[in-house]
Amino acid sequence: MRTISRTDRSRDAVRCTTMTESGPYNYSYIFKYIIIGDMGVGKSCLLHQFTEKKFMSDCPHTIGVEFGTRIIEVAGQKIKLQIWDTAGQERFRAVTRSYYRGAAGALMVYDVTRRSTYNHLSSWLTDARNLTNPNTVIFLIGNKSDLEAQREVPYEEAKQFADENGLMFLECSAKTGDRVEDAFLETARKIYQNIQDGNLDLNAAESGVQHKPQTQNTLLGNIQDKKESCNC
């Protein structure tokens, strides 16, 4: 029924590259993240800050979907994050929707200095809820916390919105790097915890998580299914 383009499969393969025998190089999981939110809220800057520890002051609009990866450690487990940064422009909304599927984490970003980006959150949240699986961890991020003088959205207000909708939340700055790591790492911890608690069916195509036992060279679960998880 679904056709997956070959290219996605090869990208998928990169996603399960791991060492077979030399333990320390291994990572046991791959988590797929998506970053969503209005244009200009700083999604690409957040990704860049997380992968490169640098700030891009004049970052062009993303017209497409970009990728970043980084290996992190949670509870002694090496986890490879595969992060998809989407275009925020309204006209691409229909196209970017096809990238949600199979995400283990969704970082939903607004700009604390622009209320309109906060007001649109409910529509982003609807998409995130409808297009991912029930266990996808949705993390609300108020970006540009360095611009305190221009703030339009108080912390408490967003915090309340997050609580009401059961979202994790923090404010950070892609410019200073403040709390950026936390946003990505806390999401991973939460996903990992879901796995530990047995809430996440790793065999399900949509889980957005690939597990790789240290001793084996095969992925847990149906590879064919996983391959689909990255596409539409």
Partner: protein
């Protein structure tokens, strides 16, 4: 291993290949079967010098690979490639590269015979990367290895400084670079990536081993003695504890030969002599050291024991031993070798003790024995098994039995009296054979500054006084191979008189790699960071000069093109393609086409991509009705990288092409002049929104077409034989959309005829409506049945059908050149169309043609 065929004549297959490729030299060192693959692998400014299929052993891994020698500006590099797919269409992907410069080494071994076939072996190394190359011996393989050797020799005599070998980088990811764009072959790419990432971490850690290991000097003591089957003397201390009093060796490896000459030793595994000697050895080790026995291995008379100081024992791992008899049937262990291997910290060490064939004239046998041990002695508990040569350090001792040739006992005695040992070395068979590269290739030996150790009268220090009066010889030797080994001393001990041999010892100061765990972790983490960064940095990158293409106003059947430029601005070669839309849809709506829709870009290269819009009859009706959006976002995908969105906008000018008969007969205003909303309303409910109370019988547009055809004349041959030009078609379309009635259409009859077909096939509902399609085919058997279907059609459809049939009959009369069944086939295809999801088959096509045929050949009665 499949044998590499000797080179055959070069074929020209590669020439028709689309990619530029390197010059492939049809030399004798080239397995010609790989020429097509090489053309894809090697870029145009490089040259493939040679290529053979071989077995490559890397550490524990042994895999079949293809080895390629490439040249660029007089610099060479050996590529180790994986072969994918079957010959002759195989693809080569280089998974490691050995630039031939100062860091490169090649060590060619003598041709050996394995299982009946001859094998050529060479050890290659580049910095800390090492591998063993083996190929079936033939002219190609031989020349190939010689070419590498030659390139290596030449690299030492360059008159220009060596480059940084950046040119080799191009092979790093060639799996993607020069791969023919054949999506079917792509399935294994994932595996490839997996392997290369795995390799990369391993290699990178290995390459930086210097940074997290320190070379610690270890004293390694080796001793060898042919004891002639005797019981041990009182003490061996003079031999074994002869090192400096405060410098106990860290490692001992002591080899004996003829430890037990009793018949029982041949029959029973147990030997009382072994225990006696072992005990004596342990008592006699350096008194300042506490030693742990790591391993003792014995094959009848040959015994090898390895001890390490207790403090080092925790750092000894993977201990294994084995023996190999070269005597009768390879079983009787009177001659042969025993070996012990171990990893000390992270240096692998192999000790071998051997006893080679005796007698001066048996030189060839000794050579044979040595090479047998070297090739066949393996440590099988290791996974996979490890051979002697696969060790960082090899210490080889034993009674080698090589003699002094072309000399006399008197001369030897004379030389020894004068301490002129070097005059004896020239006559030493072992040195001679080693220099001829028959044995001990790559091994070193210190100067023999002691007297020959054989053959003495037992109980004395006198050389053989028997009748035979044998010429003394350096039978007992120690040689080594490996880096960071310095010999401290090499001597014999005269005071032991129980045997006809004297014991020999060689002590070494050897650099052993000791891992600094903290450093290692640091470097590992640094490496992971670097890999993350590289993975991000090495993602394909492109820029496009236009993300948004506006086509403006587009008409029915009008071809409009816009282009944009895509440039590879990243560090790697890029493959791009337009990604399919979700749910398996094509990459864009049917009216949009990209050319090329996939491709490959080298670094810095750019290419123009043309997008073309053509609204054909299939899409016309949907666009007329606004049922399909006139914009599209194409997803330009970079393989292993990001997606780029290309937005396309157009404004479609609705047209009478794509309307329904019901709507067309109920309006007066030309369709092109109607606002789109009015047209949509008219189409949605033709009766209610009609402009005309009493509709035309048939669409005016159709009438205009027929009229034009009549004027231009139907008699001139096949009017459907040619198609009209773009401009002509647009002229006709314009006339119809604005209903300029008897305007003298300045176009060919063919253009008008084509428009007739376009008009009929664009109709929102065909002349025979979709719901009658099946009935129509079922009734194609007889004219009577066919007629009854037509009677059931809605009035406009029936009227239009009759109108067309009459026209076609007239056409058939006037144009003698048109055949009725051809006409029936052409027109049935546009008038009798299957519903959206209906599949056409040849038999259905025949049936609908027959259906119309009845009406063309009979008097029209509908």
């Amino acid at each position: 291993m499949e044998s590499a065929s000797s080179s055959s004549s070069l074929d020209s297959e590669g020439n028709q290949h689309r990619h530029d490729c390197g010059r492939v030299w049809n030399g004798m060192s080239m397995d010609a079967r790989y020429i097509p693959a090489l053309r894809r692998l090697v870029p145009p400014d490089h040259r493939a010098v040679g290529c053979v299929r071989c077995m490559i052993s890397r550490g524990r891994k042994r895999t079949p690979q293809v080895c390629v020698l490439v040249e660029h500006m007089q610099e060479h590099c050996v590529l180790i490639c994986a072969e994918e797919g079957a010959l002759p269409n195989a693809t080569l992907k280089s998974d490691s590269r050995f630039p031939i410069n100062v860091d490169f080494r090649i060590d060619i071994e003598p041709v050996s015979t394995v299982g009946g076939s001859r094998v050529i072996t060479a050890n290659l190394s580049y910095k800390r990367k090492k591998l063993i190359f083996e190929a079936d011996y033939d002219d190609t393989a031989d020349r190939f290895v010689k070419e590498i050797s030659k390139a290596f020799e030449n690299s030492k005599y360059r008159n220009t400084p060596a480059s940084d070998y950046l040119w080799v980088e191009v092979y790093k990811n060639n799996s993607k670079f020069f791969l023919d764009v054949n999506p079917e072959d792509e399935d294994d790419l994932g595996e490839e990536n997996k392997a290369s990432r795995e390799c990369m971490v391993k290699c990178l850690m290995q390459e930086r081993e210097d940074e997290f290991t320190v070379l610690n000097e270890f004293r390694i003591f080796t001793g060898t003695w042919n004891v002639n089957g005797m019981a041990p003397p009182e003490s061996l201390s003079e031999w074994l504890a002869s090192s400096a009093p405060n410098e106990p060796p860290d490692v001992y490896a002591i080899g004996f030969q003829e430890l037990d000459l009793s018949k029982e030793a041949f029959v029973f595994a147990d030997s009382p002599r072994e225990k006696e000697w072992l005990l004596k050895v342990k008592e006699s080790l350096h008194p300042k050291g506490r030693y742990k026995e790591i391993k003792t291995v014995r094959l009848i008379g040959m015994m090898l024991s390895v001890f390490v100081e207790e403090k080092h024992a925790p750092f000894v791992a993977n201990v294994d031993c084995n023996s190999l008899g070269t005597g009768i049937l390879g079983m009787m262990g009177n001659k042969g070798g025993v070996g012990v291997r171990l990893d000390l910290h992270s240096t692998s060490i192999c000790f071998v003790n051997c006893h080679l064939a005796a007698h001066a004239e048996e030189r060839e046998r000794r050579n044979q024995d040595f090479n047998d041990i070297r090739n066949k002695l393996s440590f099988n508990q290791m996974r996979p098994a490890k051979s002697v040569s696969e060790h960082d350090q090899i210490y080889w001792m034993g009674d080698m039995n090589y003699r002094l040739q072309d000399t006399t006992k008197q001369h030897v005695e004379q030389a020894c009296a004068n301490n002129d040992f070097s005059s004896l070395w020239e006559r030493d068979q072992l040195r001679d054979q080693q220099a001829k590269r028959i044995i001990f290739i790559g091994f070193e030996e210190g100067p023999l500054n002691f007297k020959p150790t054989y053959k003495y009268d037992v109980g004395t220090n006198q050389w053989d006084t028997s009748e035979k009066a044998r010429v003394p010889a350096y039978c007992d030797r120690v040689l080594w191979r490996g880096n960071n080994i310095r010999q401290l001393c090499y001597k014999s001990h005269d005071n032991f008189v129980i045997s006809d041999h004297k014991p020999v010892l060689a002590e070494f100061s050897s650099g052993i790699r000791v891992v600094d765990a903290v450093k290692r972790k640091e470097i590992y983490q640094e490496l992971m960071k670097q890999l993350d960064k590289e993975e991000n940095d090495f993602m394909p990158q492109v820029t496009v000069d236009e993300h948004y293409l506006n086509f403006g106003r587009v008409h029915f059947y009008e071809r409009v093109q816009r282009s944009f430029k895509i440039t590879n601005t990243g560090p790697v070669i890029v493959r791009f393609l337009f990604k399919e839309q979700p749910k398996g849809r094509r990459y864009a709506k049917d009216w949009l086409k990209a050319d090329p829709h996939n491709g490959t870009l080298k670094k810095g290269e750019s290419c123009d991509i043309t997008l073309e819009i053509l609204v054909d009859p299939a899409s016309a009706s949907k666009l007329n009705m606004g049922e399909e959006k006139m914009s599209e976002v194409l997803v330009l995908h970079l393989v292993d990288g990001k997606d780029i969105f290309i937005s396309v906008d157009m404004e479609y000018q609705h047209s009478c092409f794509g309307c329904s008969l019901e709507a067309l007969v109920r309006h007066m205003t030309p369709i092109g002049l109607l606002p789109q909303e009015t047209l949509i309303a008219l189409e949605t409910d033709p009766v209610k929104n009609a402009e005309l109370g009493v509709p035309f019988e048939t669409p005016t547009e159709l009438w205009i077409i027929m009229d034009a055809l009549q004027r231009k004349g139907l008699s001139g041959g096949n009017i459907f034989g040619k198609s009209g030009s773009q401009v002509e078609i647009q002229t006709v379309r314009e006339a119809l959309d604005t209903k300029r009635p008897d305007g003298q259409l300045d176009v060919s009859v063919h253009a008008v005829a084509e428009c007739l077909l376009l008009f009929l096939s664009a109709l929102r509902e065909p002349v025979i409506p979709y719901c009658f399609f099946k009935k129509c085919l079922d009734s194609s058997v007889t004219y009577t049945q066919a007629k009854s279907v037509i009677q059931e059609l809605p009035k406009v459809h029936r009227d239009t059908f009759r109108y067309l049939v009459l026209f076609l009959q007239e056409l058939l009369q006037k144009s003698k050149r048109l055949e009725v069944n051809i006409l029936a086939t052409i027109f049935s295809a546009v008038m009798i169309r299957p519903p959206q999801d209906g599949q056409m088959t040849p038999s259905k096509e025949r049936m609908r043609s027959v259906f119309l045929y009845h009406f063309l050949v009979n008097h029209c009665e509908v």
